[in-house]
Symmetry: D3
Subunit: 301 residues, 6 copies
């Protein structure tokens, strides 16, 4: 399968371009470059759907996410579309068969009724973006150029973040009059060490560079340009995809659990989880590989 | 209103000097320089009170805190006063009309009864300092020169921390025979990434410099001297004060919530919070500002 | 007592070499250098036991842990021994009088029954390593040379981590087909700020250097070689051991509590804890020491 | 709309029969009486879907759930179907477009791989049943005759439980060799006061009567037969449906939150929730109704 | 001191009538019988204040709360007053020097700004009622006649509830168009076993009798009339007041902690709490009393 | 094996008499009748040890606990022995090889140092009693006659509680000057529905009867005398012991987890737990038993 041709199983998406640049690898590109990859509602519904599919796809062991085009990872919410789609539109949110639709518009009603519409709308949006975090395969996110607002919400759901040198980051929401509500404020304090810096960038909405993101530990590496960053991400993903999927997927699950729960709860969960994971064929296969110096192969997962 | 004249609404405080150096800005100076801004009980009661007032004051959108005088942000607890005021004094804690007084002295009684006195005393003290964290407006704390013990407890309650180059930091409590109990040990592990460093400075009580604090992410920037640091803080505060107070105050609330709660709980809380915040006039006003390139104005909050 | 002669009270251990290089100091060396200090089951049972003893030993106020020999802090699990001892052996786990034995082998039975064996096995192992964290005295861990797999689990339980320049770190478990289950995945996200880095090293199993560990805040300092690092650790331990044990041990307890619990819960716990700790003789003694400039002495604890 | 004719908006369901026996009322009948209303996978997928729809349907303010036919509320899982559909089938779980499918069969693979299949399967099933609890409208569940296994899982998700005198309850799962995993063990300890009784019925799998269920507080009332119980449920639902939907739906949300969270967290959540709910027109309308003794009407929600 | 004369230390309250009907006993009567003891804002501010005072008063070891007059424990919120005082009034909430005032009225502003006013208002109100739960002395609440809405919020904060036979209970809030927000929905699911009953009475707002309250465990006993119930409460309080205050107050604290926290956390907190409580003189005194069959006396607390 | 002869594997206990009255059954009798089964330190250490052994013993699937002799289940702590053994003795707590010893006596030292001794003492004691709860096999506790103080702590750790009609229950601790600290205050609020009753009996230390315990749901049944109660417990245990041990032990684990954790966390834990438990041979065997109407047999666990 060429790295450029979309994977057939993912060919129905309009905004999600998925290729397989190597064995067990998926490369997902946000694909609306003419709009700086800004998100409309159909786009975030697809975003949720593609990660549910990637999570279950046995032929995928690691995922790289990047933004198509040179100008933006994503400029964030498509504000123009938002006015027509969401509770802002005053026309009700409609439904998408997925069941999380927002039944209330805000065309009428009192603040409590409009609030219900907003709540449904925000939770649907949060739910779609969070599918990236719930995806059982590791996800490496490559940011470049314009990476504002929703870009940070998305990056916070990734396991590993890399950046091109030209990335222009900002938690931009306060500049358009709202507190970020798609995940940044929930996750950033848990994934970056300096709370002072987190507060600074979220309260001021100021830009920060790839270099600053690296120093603060928000990203793990900075590369000269987008192509180099994607290449590095794919290499990292390829190395991970060679390893036992039982080990890799368990590690992701347990690290996420460890971040969210007390050490005692986490140790207990780990022992229950591994009590079956250790019964896989992967440990013997991996050890054999170590001793024989041959690359082991692992059953699908 | 001159930046030097105390705001009339805050003129009754003895140790808290509050000025307004710009629109919607408050600058609070710990004002007991002749004692290196060391805290007596009346001073920490005032500290709690001033932050409750700032939190409610619709004319304040961002707060800068610094210490008056060149020698200290604060030298910490006023140990001499503490001997006469608290359970250490043997004379009972008195009351202050605020209701959190410590009814038991330790002049007599058995260890359990003295413990009740200490408990009340510590909780009153914690409660006053924590008002800075509870203040709904962002608080930027500027540290300089002597910044020991309670200085760290206070700084941990700020949203953003800046330091002058000459700051002498120390979590000094173990050197006077106690574990820090006004908040440092509860908050520091959550606001700085390196637990090894946190343990080092708390267990050894050693001094650390502004530079080290910057490297570890405890402060966000170091400036040449106190004046420059205060100036930078005021500029930062001014930029924040220009933005939507609904967005800014929501961002502070949600970041604090995110730091303390699981991601799932935090996402839920965010959707409920924003379901009403998004009904403010701020988002349209801010967007209009973006499109028109004119500075938007926002209703009081 | 010479620093080289084992402390008599600790002379029965086979793999744990405990000396006292100074007043109130204990230096524990993992002592199986011919096997690169790899852990067999008897070794980890001893590891748990020695920390329970150190925690109760009134003559110990700070502990340094290092690995005997020049080649490794520890190479991790002794894989060869593991095949014969644990559920992998197919022969049942036996008992050790400690009561946490794993009653089920995996020689027979269905996956659920084997899972019970694994669960008991993992929990016993976790429990022994966690004793280092539960030890009420501060523990400084010195890593050098090979420091793989279990080395990271152990280091995560220490309060402060130092490294020799030649340390070769890796969270190696995925390379042998499993998710690390002795504590790394539960603790690392809480003790290092950059979640992106944590995911990177845990998912890729790649080596990282002492320098990288320092930059990410995993260790607090890097020294030229193992001897220098041990020396620095002993000096740090000696400074801590001179201080009030009530203050030091309370600080450790409260920092660990603060890392795991909400700020509100932690403040409450702190006030209850200190309501009795402040009744020790240590605060007056320490203050007297400050005023008199003489080194205070403190009762045993 | 007759109480017997299915509501048009709900006419596509195969196993869920939804009628509207009064204003703002929905009556959902589990409708597979020829199989004692036993659940196959298509049936539980419908169960989830119908509750998502009811939750959003502005014409529904209270829901009654009962089982069609005289012989059973539900006999639980359709064991015969389960052998063909789930991981037990050995054929993989397929997909349903809902995205929670279980990608792994257990036809092959090792225990860890089969575990992934089971996990996906259980979570999909749990998720569908939990939609009843998540439904924002109050749900009153009427049990009668055979009410085994899954019947208890479902009843635990209801807000209020009523029973016919002939109900035969049992937490039956241990009798077919498994621990109940669709919610009973998670919820029953939180919704019934006597833990001793909960353990008794769950560990012994014994039958218990409606009378015993009433005494233990599991159900709120027992009626002579199914028809009387349904009638009572509909009356109760009708009284609730007359009230302010803002008040009723908020009460459900806050009681569920209160059951799961600490009092402090719950009070905080309540104040945020009601800060917008109190801006509805419902409070003035309701008060006017009280004063004028006329039945108020409320806007849709 | 006569049981009828107010205790001098409590003579300044307008709505709180506090007498001492026996050694170490306080009897607090809600004292606005001409308004059915309905609560205005000054009244709930007093309610908070009187419990803070009782909590600290060393001459009080047990508290009985009842409602003055024969017609009501309390009819709940004084709706007429509420229209003039709170955010409903449109005039801003004012301040009371206590610092928790609600700075925002809802006279103007958008929904987000009005929400801030409501939030402050609700939290102040919750805070005052919760002082009854925080009071370190046991509180026995006697309900009689009209006991609606806020009556349940208050009763939920008591340790022990008794009722007169004529009590008319209702969680009345949904009938006036809101979800109860002063504590009932947060606490009731934790203090009564049958969640089905809790949902029933909260969603339907129906009246329930003392007998029903007894059967469901909401109250511990029902007495023939208010006088008999108060008498029984005073006897119960007198028996508790004879016991060690260290034991009694510790028991209250630990039971509340146990209700809100996991068993593991609660056991840990218990051991820390009792590590100092057991150093009181109370245990020897109590044991001496047991052996000598003489009533022990205990130091004040 | 006769029901009267101790099981050989349990013959070394002094105070724990363990027999096997049927297949896979263990009957543990507290065996110090001449002291009313009062607990000395050696006795509670044995209590912990015997439950660790029972938990691992594959020949045990259900446990009944009762007190030897006719006069008492247990009179609680052996107060006379406690004066000589614990921190009360002033002689230090010694060690027992189990590592949880209390290293500090209270003969000397200040309150903080004595507190450490008490803390260690309480935690060792709690730990031993909690082993009954941690035991993976269901435990049915039969109470009779004198059942004071520690009797309630122990009963709270059981899964199911039965009582003889003559049982005299009391949470007696406040009468000897302390708050119960071995588990009653942590567990009782979670296992009995009426918090008002829980507070009543814990604060008043009053006796309550078997009948009252039944009404409040503390016990599940009352039998005419101890023999009948033991017989009923053994029958109940026998029925449980016939069932799949995978199903039974999983049910206990998941119910305990459900009691302590949120529903969401509990559902997740359930799916992970059952993902391997469902791979046991027990489900097919049990189903075959149902269809064939023959009693299935299950592999050991």
């Amino acid at each position: 399968m060429s790295a450029l041709t979309p994977l057939p199983a993912y060919s129905t998406y309009q905004f999600m371009h998925v290729t397989s640049p190597g064995p067990y690898l998926a490369h997902l590109q946000l694909n609306r470059p003419e709009k700086l990859n800004a998100f409309s509602r159909p786009m975030w519904l697809e975003f949720g759907r593609v990660f549910r599919q990637l999570s279950l796809d046995e032929d995928v062991r690691a995922v790289v996410v990047s933004g198509a085009g040179g100008r933006a990872f994503t400029a964030g919410l498509d504000v123009v579309a938002a006015r027509e789609e969401g509770p802002m539109s005053g026309g009700g949110g409609g439904g998408d068969g997925h069941g999380n639709g927002n039944g209330n518009g805000n065309g009428g009603g009192d603040p409590a009724r409009r609030a219900k519409g907003w709540r449904g709308h925000i939770e649907e949006f949060q739910g779609c973006i969070s599918e990236m975090e719930r995806c059982e395969k590791p996800v490496i996110c490559v940011l470049h150029a314009i990476s504002l607002g929703l870009a940070i919400d998305i990056a916070c759901c990734a396991d590993i973040r890399l950046a091109a040198r030209n990335t222009r980051f900002a938690v931009k929401e306060v500049d358009i009059g709202l507190a970020a509500d798609i995940g940044t404020l929930a996750r950033l304090p848990k994934i970056v060490g300096s709370n002072s810096w987190v507060k600074d960038v979220c309260l001021s909405a100021r830009d920060f560079t790839a270099q600053e993101a690296l120093q603060m530990g928000f990203v793990s590496a900075v590369h000269d340009d987008k192509d180099k960053a994607v290449e590095a991400a794919l290499e990292m993903a390829a190395r991970i995809a060679e390893k036992s999927p039982v080990a890799v997927q368990g590690t992701k699950e347990l690290l996420n659990y460890g971040r969210e729960n007390s050490t005692a709860a986490s140790l207990r969960y780990t022992s229950v989880w591994n009590s079956v994971a250790l019964q896989a064929g992967d440990m013997p296969a991996a050890m054999m590989g170590v001793f024989s110096k041959r690359k082991p192969t692992f059953e699908k997962l």
